[in-house]
Subunit: 429 residues, 2 copies
């Protein structure tokens, strides 16, 4: 971790820069995969799965009867913890649905909006080193609450062609029946354009490696929406002298172990805390199984001192972190200073892992400063809002003449006519 | 307009296809413009404005004192109609802000979310043949209600280097002070990356020609968000025998006059209504100033007969129109059949022009079947939602062990440690 003391504002742009090794050839490779899936459907999927996942599959859809067998070995304690997480996430997400409201803007002119589920959604769940079943909870629960009719899940098969039992268990628990052993850019292409065995969807959600992320970006230009632009995970901690350096180190390492391109930042008005945190990191990292990954992440991470705490918030807002931890005396009193962040953790016992798994908030959050304009995933991400209006005869008589004047001023005669023709008929009846 | 009688479902994909003349070279040209602005800032803007708008400007920012002079000639009747539209749009949009809620998901675990304004937003308002001041109302009002701190507006200058008085008047009325005489892809690039005189923003809104649309798509890949992917405007009408063919024709023409690439669709269970509508179009189009444009739009538009009205809704949901007009007996009784649409107009007096200008709903809506996954612009489009959590010592004691189990199952030891280290300290105190 590099240390910076009271950097001036002109240095902030550099300090807010993420680590982004985005090879030029990635787009070419991913484009080729997408085009192959578009052109050859399942045939391309079989070929690409053999190439990238090193397995010959006979079908992608996981047979329902095989799920029960595969999930029987999951320990009861894990099942219980998943149930607790599910309960909390449901409880929080259930409360985010605003009501419909009908407004009479002018006498006889009624306007309202209605949230309607996106019909077909696709969830991508990474496989690889760790089965990220927590992402199934974070995406599947809001999709279910939103009322999406068709929810499909894609996750890469292991070398036996199987998905992790806990992935299957979690999907099943939520009632997701359409599960495909399919990963990488080819899974994204299949969900975007559809193949013989994989239906196309209206919106694709979920994290993934650089292939998956690039594929999501590319398909979102044409037919399908995506949850948000993705980048490596990140955390920023604002700490004062009341913080516990061991907790800070643990939180920074929890983020750093995600991937070598993750970035962790600590900003403080206490030099002492910053130094002690560095020492604690050095101690704690020794025993981490993912030490190697964490070390790489730390190499492009930053520890920054500012004289006062408001400056720390200014910097944080410019950085716009995915996760923001406030390890401050009376953290709650500072929240109105936050203008840009994905999810905020208040006080020394609110560790980020809680939000990653089980406290109730969503862990699918905007990275790479996208928190300036994007929100994390919520039930609303699985819905769209349709507006409605009903205008009575009297309403049109009252409002119509103004519409005529406005359309006229914009030079749109046919827009005006649509009103005039009605007003004339109302008058003549 | 081409007519189709009871087309089978296999034909629907073709019938739902929009008219999209998207020249390959467009991306190359727009990319070059963006790169030039990124590299040379204002200097590039002056050069590009001279090239595309045929005017030599000394500055882009419209001086505040010139606005009063320029807007003095606007007739009182137009000012009054703008005021009425503003009132209705404000009234409807004010009602769309859901409250903050705080949930205790587990004892001692508090989660909530808060809508926070996007700090810096840019509004693009097309110039050209007609000054689309109505778009200023539709974007500026929700931006103001959302509480955006910095709102800038770009609109292309005419050959005298000026903006339309009514554009300036409307912006002024909303309190938008930072107005730039700047158009095209160069305006989008300036708002995305910033130049000496144009500040960069976090999100760009507004309609535009193919250059503007392509530029928005390209800049949204990097640093800035955009309102939604854009395409030509469109309407779909579902009509039964109770409809008035003259009204239907007027509504179809109002949409058709937008641009040669607009698409208008009418779907009905009455052959008689479809035929009479075609006749009414032929009559009404004769006197339109934008007849030429409307004729081109009609050439790739469709009139479709289905035996029953539910089939019409099925087709409409597949088409996912930007504007959906229900000219049906008891239109309200059908609204639960609508799964995909931007904005819906119910009954024979609810003409689309009303929503375009003054009824209160927003006219910035998803086109090109994006209504399947996107919503129109609302106050929420100018905000992001930040989630918060506060966990007490007791909360962590209760939830912590589950987080440990879940992190362990995902193979993320440092995530687990962030909890364990805290639980240990709590125990030892």
């Amino acid at each position: 971790m590099q240390t910076y003391v009271s950097p001036s504002k002109s240095e902030w742009i550099g300090l807010c820069r993420r680590y982004f090794p985005n090879p030029q050839e990635l787009e070419t490779i991913v484009n080729a995969i997408i085009n192959e899936v578009k052109a050859n459907g399942d045939q391309a999927l079989f070929k690409l799965t053999k190439k990238y996942d090193k397995v010959d599959l006979l079908e992608f859809k996981v047979p329902t009867d095989s799920i029960e067998k595969l999930t029987s070995s999951i320990p009861a304690s894990l099942k219980e913890s998943i149930a607790i997480a599910k309960y909390n996430i449901e409880k929080f997400h259930n409360c985010s649905i605003p009501d419909e409201r009908k407004i009479e803007t002018t006498k006889g002119v009624f306007c309202w909006s209605k949230r309607v589920p996106i019909e077909k959604v696709g969830l991508y769940i990474p496989g690889g080193t760790a089965p990220l079943f927590s992402s199934i909870l974070m995406l599947g629960i809001p999709a279910m609450i939103a009322g999406c009719k068709e929810i499909i899940l894609c996750s890469p098969p292991n070398k036996e062609g199987l998905l992790s039992p806990v992935v299957l268990y979690t999907a099943r628990l939520l009632g997701i029946e359409n599960i495909y052993a399919l990963g990488g850019a080819q899974a994204i292409a299949a969900m975007a354009y559809g193949t013989e065995s994989v239906p196309s969807v209206d919106k694709i959600f979920g994290p993934g490696n650089s292939f998956v992320t690039k594929a999501k970006e590319l398909v979102s230009k044409s037919t399908v929406a995506i949850d948000m632009p993705a980048g490596p995970s990140e955390v920023l901690i604002i700490a004062d002298e009341s913080a516990d350096p061991e907790f800070l180190a643990a939180d920074l390492l929890a983020q750093a172990e995600h991937g070598p391109d993750s970035q962790v930042m600590i900003v403080s008005n206490s030099m002492d805390i910053l130094q002690k945190t560095q020492l604690a990191i050095a101690t704690q990292i020794k025993n981490l199984p993912r030490k190697n990954i964490a070390e790489q992440a730390l190499s492009h991470s930053r520890s920054i001192y500012f004289k006062n705490i408001n400056r720390c918030f200014e910097f944080s807002n410019e950085y716009a972190p995915e996760h923001l931890i406030l390890s401050l005396h009376n953290a709650l009193s500072h929240i109105d200073k936050i203008t840009n962040a994905g999810s905020v953790f208040l006080g020394k016992y609110s560790c980020e892992s809680a939000g990653d798994y089980a406290s109730g908030t969503n862990h699918t959050l905007p990275t790479n400063a996208n928190a300036k304009a994007y929100s994390g995933v919520s039930v609303e991400s699985f819905q769209k809002k349709i507006t409605f209006q009903r205008i009575t005869k009297e309403g049109l008589q009252k409002l119509g003449p103004h519409i005529e004047i406005l359309a006229d001023a914009e030079g749109l005669q046919a827009h005006k006519n649509a009103v005039s023709i009605r007003l004339k008929k109302i008058k003549n009846v």
